[in-house]
């Protein structure tokens, strides 16, 4: 079962102001709780040109996503911002495949029990219910930083590796690199507030 909730338009609208938009929407999971009406309401509140919208299955699967991206290549090319309506895994996979594009998630993932997405091993979602991907270039520090840091790398990040395990990449180095590539390093200056650990039932 999957349960997501749609983010408040106050979080999304500043990200899409005067930009052409492409929308990915995922309805893949069995037993999915995907709030169709709220999603449509958020989309309706966006006063920008929507150049394309793809409603698909299993955005969490990178192989599928490569095909989707090919199929919608022209629309995606025209878009300045890609909005993803899916669980955190789907949003991370799309971000990783379109790592030179601004990809934002419109959902907070609350629950993924029993079905962790098809590439959950590489793209972890902790179902924290307060999705952070819009501030991190689509890479999740909640799931992938050893200290759950929300304000950038600690003093132990060296050579792209985490001090806790030399085989593990420092996700904040990866976030820095991706935001640098997107010309969005100022996002790193944001003071990330304390997380609400009580949002998710998971």
């Amino acid at each position: 079962m999957l349960a997501v909730q749609i983010k408040a338009k106050e979080e999304i609208l500043p990200l899409v102001s005067s930009k052409r938009i492409f929308i990915f929407e995922c309805l893949g999971c069995h037993d999915v709780y995907y709030p169709v009406e709220e999603a449509q309401k958020l989309i309706d509140s966006i006063d920008q040109e929507i150049v394309g919208r793809a409603t698909l299955d299993y955005l969490c699967h990178a192989d599928y996503d490569r095909e989707y991206i090919k199929a919608y290549a022209r629309e995606i090319e025209r878009a300045e911002v890609i909005l993803v309506f899916s669980c955190g895994v789907g949003a991370q996979v799309v971000s990783s495949l379109l790592d030179d594009r601004k990809v934002y998630t419109c959902c907070d993932t609350l629950y993924l029990a029993g079905f962790q997405g098809l590439t959950a091993k590489e793209f972890d979602c902790d179902q924290c219910g307060e999705c952070y991907l819009n501030y991190t270039g689509g890479l999740c520090p909640v799931a992938l930083c050893s200290k759950n840091l929300l304000n950038g790398p600690c003093g132990g990040s060296q050579g792209g590796k985490c001090e806790v395990d030399p085989d593990m990449p420092c996700v904040w180095q990866e976030i820095f690199d991706r935001l640098a590539g997107l010309g969005q390093l100022e996002t790193m200056d944001r003071l990330g507030p304390p997380k609400k650990w009580n949002v998710s039932p998971a």
Partner: protein, 310 residues
Amino acid sequence: MKTKSNLERVLESGHFAVTGELGPPASADAGVIRKKAKLLKGNVDAFNITDGQTAVVRMASWAAAVMGKEEGMDPIVQMTCRDRNRIALQMDVLGISALGINNMLCLTGDHQKFGNHPAARGVYDLDSIQLLRMVRDMRDEKRFQCGDEMAVEPRLFIGAAENPFADPFEFRVPRLAKKVEAGADFIQTQIIYNLDKFAEWMKGVRDRGLHERVKILAGVAPIKSLGAARYMKTRVPGMDVPDSVIERLQKATSKEQVSREGINLCVDIIKRVREIEGVAGIHLMAIEWEEVVPEIIGAADLLPRPVFAE
């Protein structure tokens, strides 16, 4: 003056500040604290008491700080997010202020994997930047993190750490800016051996005017042996020990000579960082080697320390 901190007073009066460091024992032995405090007294303006450094169980920082206070010193309680959630952190902040402690240092903390209880669950409810903002709001807004008001606020001079040698280097000045924005009054840096890199970082700090908003204390430490130097160079994450440092120590002919050269090197580094615009003092970490602190501070021409009338 925001607080009764001696460190704040030294810095505000324009003196080049000296802080030291005291590691509490891995036992209930109060004598160790008193002995080390006596070694530091008169040689430093304030001293940090580590909070389970390298995630090894040691006496609580606040408890050791109370003993340091009783010895007539100005302790800086280190507080990490590794072992406490926001509830426990705020309770400790109230407690140390009520006990008369004037300074605290906000840290995320060394990961539990490195310590003697690697099976422990890390807390990390907040990170160091969120902790800074929370303590500042407690002091300046009289508010808990949840927004509730309190009657009597904690009066603490608030510090943070920064490592100019960690990656990505380009984020190390912006990260300092975040800590200043969050509420840091003073910063203690990672131990400096690579002076060129530190100078480059300080240039970035000055370019953003951060040295005018926060007091920066340059981290220094004497090296006791070649083994320690090599260990720091290769095994300690976030440490930058240039080859020239190892080579300088290698020229010494005996163990005693290496230690002597380690002390000389430390004094040289203090003199060099003092020349860098925007450096407001040093933080001397002579961990388990506290007896050399008076000699180093003296050789660096930093004695006597300023004394203020009550």
